[in-house]
């Protein structure tokens, strides 16, 4: 949407280079808004033990279901725990699950996809047929099945979501490499006697990676969303830990009378997911040669 491209800012920069992408993204109001929200959530969740006078697990029966007020900005939950403190602690879970599970799925997927695309033949068939099995389910079902096997907890949740997301990255990386291998500029590079190493390092890798950046941003959002879904149905991170999905699951029993218990954590999930999506969108636009100014 809000695409304010400033010609002078990108002039002289090579399209596709990091600087070029950044200068484009930094002129995208939505993406910058998303970046600000994510940075704010990261900083606040890091500083929350020092800012908040409350402990996220401290039970205070005199403040049960307290509505939002100056003392408790977002009110208190069914055990009188301060919701703002809990929500910001919860951000640590969502963000770390998002980042680390995508780290797992991106690393694993890129390696599998690159092997598959580069070697082709039997390796390709073996890897791809194996991934077909994983892609026979909706991703959330795979995540549910894997976290049923691993059990609940932060590390296990990261592992389950990381493995569930791997096939997507592998497929994308494979498709990228296959597309690039036959491209004219590779042929051109080879024809001017470019060494194989130089072709791989200078041409194949940078071109195969840039579409993955978009996928990474989007996957962090999706992983955060899936983590909260898992916790909501009692897998993933479980109460009393202040994970957002778990908070929603605990609050839903009381929401008829105290809707603030479910509104605040949901808003935080939405803001986080939307921010990553906005950043992903902006990077995609910046990398799209059709939209070049």
């Amino acid at each position: 949407m809000a695409k304010k491209t400033n010609k002078s800012s990108t002039a002289g920069l090579k399209p596709g280079s990091l600087k070029y992408v950044w200068s484009k993204v930094s002129h995208n109001a939505g993406a910058m808004g998303g970046l600000v929200i994510i940075c704010a959530i990261i900083i606040l969740s890091a500083l929350i033990p020092f800012i908040s006078p409350y402990d996220y697990s401290a039970i205070d029966m005199s403040n049960m279901y307290a509505l939002p007020s100056m003392q408790h900005l977002f009110g208190c939950d069914e055990l009188g725990r301060d919701i703002m403190t809990r929500v910001l602690y919860g951000a640590r879970y969502t963000l770390s699950i998002g980042f680390f599970s995508v780290l797992i799925s991106a690393t694993g997927g890129i390696i599998l996809g690159a092997l598959s695309g580069y070697f082709g033949g039997l390796v390709d068939t073996a890897i791809m047929r194996f991934l077909d099995i994983f892609q026979a389910f909706p991703q959330i079902l795979l995540a549910i099945a894997l976290s049923a096997v691993f059990g609940s907890g932060l590390d296990k949740c990261i592992l389950a979501l990381g493995l569930a997301g791997m096939p997507n990255f592998a497929r994308m990386m494979r498709a990228n490499i296959l597309g690039i291998r036959g491209a004219e500029y590779i042929e051109a590079a080879a024809s001017i006697n470019c060494t194989k190493v130089r072709i791989i390092l200078k041409h194949i890798i940078p071109n195969a990676f840039s579409p993955l950046i978009v996928q990474i941003a989007m996957s962090i959002a999706a992983a955060g969303l899936q983590a909260s879904s898992l916790s909501f149905v009692g897998l993933g991170i479980q109460a009393p830990e202040p994970e957002w999905g778990a908070m929603l699951a605990a609050g839903r029993n009381f929401m008829r009378d105290y809707p603030h218990l479910v509104i605040v954590p949901g808003l935080f999930i939405m803001a986080t997911v939307m921010s990553f999506n906005l950043i992903g969108d902006a990077i995609r636009d910046a990398l799209d040669p059709k939209l070049k100014d």
Binding site: A136, V149, L278
Partner: protein
Amino acid sequence: MIKYILKRIVLIIPILLAVGIMIFTLMYFVPGDPVSIALGNSATQEEIEAIKTSKGLNDPYMVQLGRYLGNLVFHLDMGTSYKTNMPVSMELLSRFPNTMKIALSSIVLTMLIGIPIGIRAAIKANTFEDRLSMFVSLLGTALPNFWMALLLILLFSVTLKWFPSNGDKSWKYFVLPAISNSIGSIAMIARQTRASMLEVIRSDYVVTARAKGVPERKVILGHALPNALIPIITVCGGSFGMLLGGAIITESVFSISGIGTYLLTGINSRDYNVVQGSVLYIAATFAVLMLIIDVLYAYVDPRIKAQYVQSGRKGKENGKKDK
């Protein structure tokens, strides 16, 4: 074409077998023991061991796997639940319609609402209307479906009392689940439709159609839309998976007895047969949905259809007619 569809159906079978082996193996390594959970704390160790032996749970992995697959393939039998002793396949069959009601009505909602919004936004590109609908769909893609479900319950069940908040007795019970489940994919489809419509709307054949005086409505629906449909169908395919998976979560919010709630209770009581059966059922449904999407491609795009027809002919005449 029919040959292609048959070929695809045959290809689904090895995938489902592999899924069966994988999910069996995963469940085999789950810590926790279904029998002791089903019998409760009062059971003695001897009782537990006796039941485990009678159910064959003490057999080696390969024996158990072979038995499971054998029953599955030759008798379509998915075993019995350790908790209720009911056959899993019967239970799944009775729960399947509820899950499909949610999934299919979400798919219908997604296409009926998402595509028109996207077309409208593309026609009115960069106007206030476009910006508003795209902003709303941006929010929509970020909404967790279970949170949407809670908000809808708050508004329509608690405050307005229009729709019931849990159960599955009549169509009224499925309105809120379908809406909450489809919000995300409606938003996704709307965004994709807008993007691919914008791409074709500037193309030469649209300009030509306009220039020769074709009414605008026909230009959009007859010339632009069919050409924009391919990427839209791709996204639809992805969102079918999302909707089917989302139905699992949605069922648990609205306490609908579908496969999702069955799966989740199965996980909590370590009821392996229930978990394996539910996962296989959903995987099979997913495979069929994906097949439908692939066939749809062929109907929408004559180029793809021509490929199928040609490859069929190629098989018959040993590639003589292959161009």
